[in-house]
Symmetry: C2
């Protein structure tokens, strides 16, 4: 599997006339080696893939485990005596080096310039946008645990609980079931739900009728992420709330239908057009424009290629996994977002659950929690 991915990198070296590539993104290092434990916040490793060889550069904190777990990369160990400079000096013969310009900092670039005369951008992240069956299976497993967690957390919603406490219960459940959170959950009560990226806080659930509860969370299993959002109502929903909820749901369905129709007719599916379909519908219903993109690819990272946004140039292809998550947010009132993960798949799913039984469609929904309005009645 890793061999095949490395070969793909090499084919791009050839296409772009590069002698080698220096890979710095932790997610790409994981994709090419299977090793996921380098820090996300500090530079602890690089890969160098030349036409014939592959190297991993890291220090003594990792060298033992890398030797065992990543034997097909030659380890170049950083020590007090063997600095990064010394290691790069060994590659001075390389004429053109590929680098990830969206990862390498200006400081690193200045240091690299001392060793490599010519550098060009090489995009490795986009290699990950089309998933293998095994990757899709992993995301699906993460999504299934997310669905279980949603069902579980519904039973924990009661008067007086705080956003943080609910987030904690969610995390506990996911960890007890062998997963991790794929990002800090967004739990927003009442007016807080009008903030798309609300910081889960101390707000407590009170008896006030018809409060939105927005739950946006994801699971990480075997390094692969899921992501989902549901908005439910604590108390009796008003007509205003129902209309917002239904408009969001319709907007999502319009994007799903759009993608499906394009796939069926064998046409190119522009991600920006999918975004526009949902966005225009929400605006046509006299609600504010969605203040974020319609969706994003997902895999080793929560946000990756493709991007479903107005400015995206991405084409949605078979094997891609992405979210569709329209939302309506009314300041000082509240907001609704519904988010599911989808995969463009040639395989008809053997099991179909939830509201959207896709039958022979090619767009498979991976998250399958209910999408009808859920109202939890406060005890009086």
């Amino acid at each position: 599997m890793f061999r095949c991915r490395i070969d793909k990198v090499r084919s791009h070296l050839k296409k772009q006339n590069l002698d080698a590539v220096l890979i710095s993104a932790v997610s790409n290092i994981c994709y090419l080696t299977g090793y996921a434990n380098f820090s996300q916040n500090e530079r602890e490793a690089y890969l160098i893939i030349t036409k014939n060889e592959q190297f991993i550069i890291t220090d003594g904190r990792y060298s033992g485990v890398i030797k065992r777990q990543v034997p097909y990369f030659k380890l170049l160990e950083l020590t007090g005596e063997n600095s990064l400079k010394n290691i790069f000096a060994k590659f001075a013969r390389l004429k053109v080096l590929g680098i990830e310009e969206d990862e390498i900092t200006v400081s690193e670039h200045k240091m690299l310039k001392k060793h490599f005369k010519k550098m060009k951008h090489l995009d490795i992240k986009s290699h990950r946008s089309v998933k293998t069956d095994d990757e899709i299976r992993k995301i699906e497993e993460a999504a299934k645990l997310g669905d279980k967690a949603f069902k579980y957390i519904l039973g924990k919603i009661k008067e007086g609980i705080s956003e943080k406490e609910l987030a904690y219960e969610l995390e506990l459940f996911i960890k007890k079931n062998g997963g991790e959170l794929s990002f800090p959950p967004i739990i927003a009560f009442g007016r807080n739900s009008a903030i798309p990226h609300h910081q889960t806080g101390e707000t407590k659930l009170d008896k006030k009728e018809g409060q939105f509860i927005l739950l946006d969370f994801g699971v990480k299993l075997e390094n692969y992420c899921s992501d989902m959002t549901r908005t439910i109502i604590f108390g009796k929903p008003t007509n205003k709330q129902k209309r917002i909820y239904e408009t969001v749901l319709k907007a999502q369905q319009k994007a799903i239908d759009f993608i499906n129709s394009k796939i069926k007719s064998g046409k190119k599916v522009k991600a920006s057009d999918a975004d526009k379909t949902a966005r225009d519908f929400i605006i046509s219903q006299k609600y504010p424009n969605i203040p974020h993109s319609l969706g994003h690819g997902i895999g080793l990272q929560v946000h990756e290629h493709p991007s479903l946004s107005s400015k995206s140039r991405d084409i949605l292809k078979t094997g891609m996994v992405f979210s569709i998550e329209p939302g309506i947010y009314l300041p000082d009132f509240g907001g609704v977002r519904t988010e599911d993960l989808f995969c463009i798949s040639k395989i008809v799913p053997s099991e179909t659950k939830g509201l959207f039984v896709l039958g022979k469609n090619d767009l498979k929904q991976l998250t399958n929690s209910p999408k009808s309005i859920i109202s939890i009645q406060a005890l009086s």
Copy 2:
């Protein structure tokens, strides 16, 4: 507080003849605004501080909360119509822009070049290395919760428990007490302790006599981090293990004594000299060189200025908070690391706990878990 920090940034603008600075590091944005909720993995905000004004650039997901919580920064909201290009175009009059070269990527730099002819590096992170009393108090609170967590976790160590389960118990305790983990804990049993950055896994504790258990973890409270490591022994320690343990402890004490003697004599304390003191002692005892630096500054991030390493040029100053964490790692046998946090403080601590009662010294220890060999006997 924030006003004073912004003023300090402005004084550096003046010193370096810059018209403004573009701040991109999430930790620096938190330091200057108090808002800590931007993603660590994606660029969701920038600050621009000119000679007279300060701006925050972010999108609709954050604009509501920023308006409320950060009112002294003028919000420039990114929308479909108002792109980053448009916003930067408004600052085109700026002649020289400061940027954080260790944060800005090559791609971002290319984009910035279109708007700003001249850019220079401005280091904002080092502003954070000397802490205020309030910051030190926060780190101390985090360290105290860490000590409580260590005491708690000792009671959970028993035959059959896995590294992951122990890490989970630790996380639970910290969260129940209102904290967060400041990084994924390193829990290493037996031979795994020889890997300085072991990935906490499924290894279970067995009855084998004299196994090391290395616990490296930290707490985050009010955005400030703690960090500590203790190595204990499951079963009866052998003489070989005792000698390793005591050598590590002595190496730490030698670094502490070195820093104290320098402070007392009013001399400059070179961080690299502190590193050398501990490192040389371990080598003199015929153990392998420490495969990592002796310590690191800590605050809003787990690793920040100063660096206590052989190549560091940092001078340890009053108000700095840092770890001292020597270690000995013998492949296929096991490893020991002892890590505590220290602050160079002019205040004599009113309470002194633990083994190192510092009295009138200026080096105050913030983590205070016991450092004598702890042996937990396996039930037969």
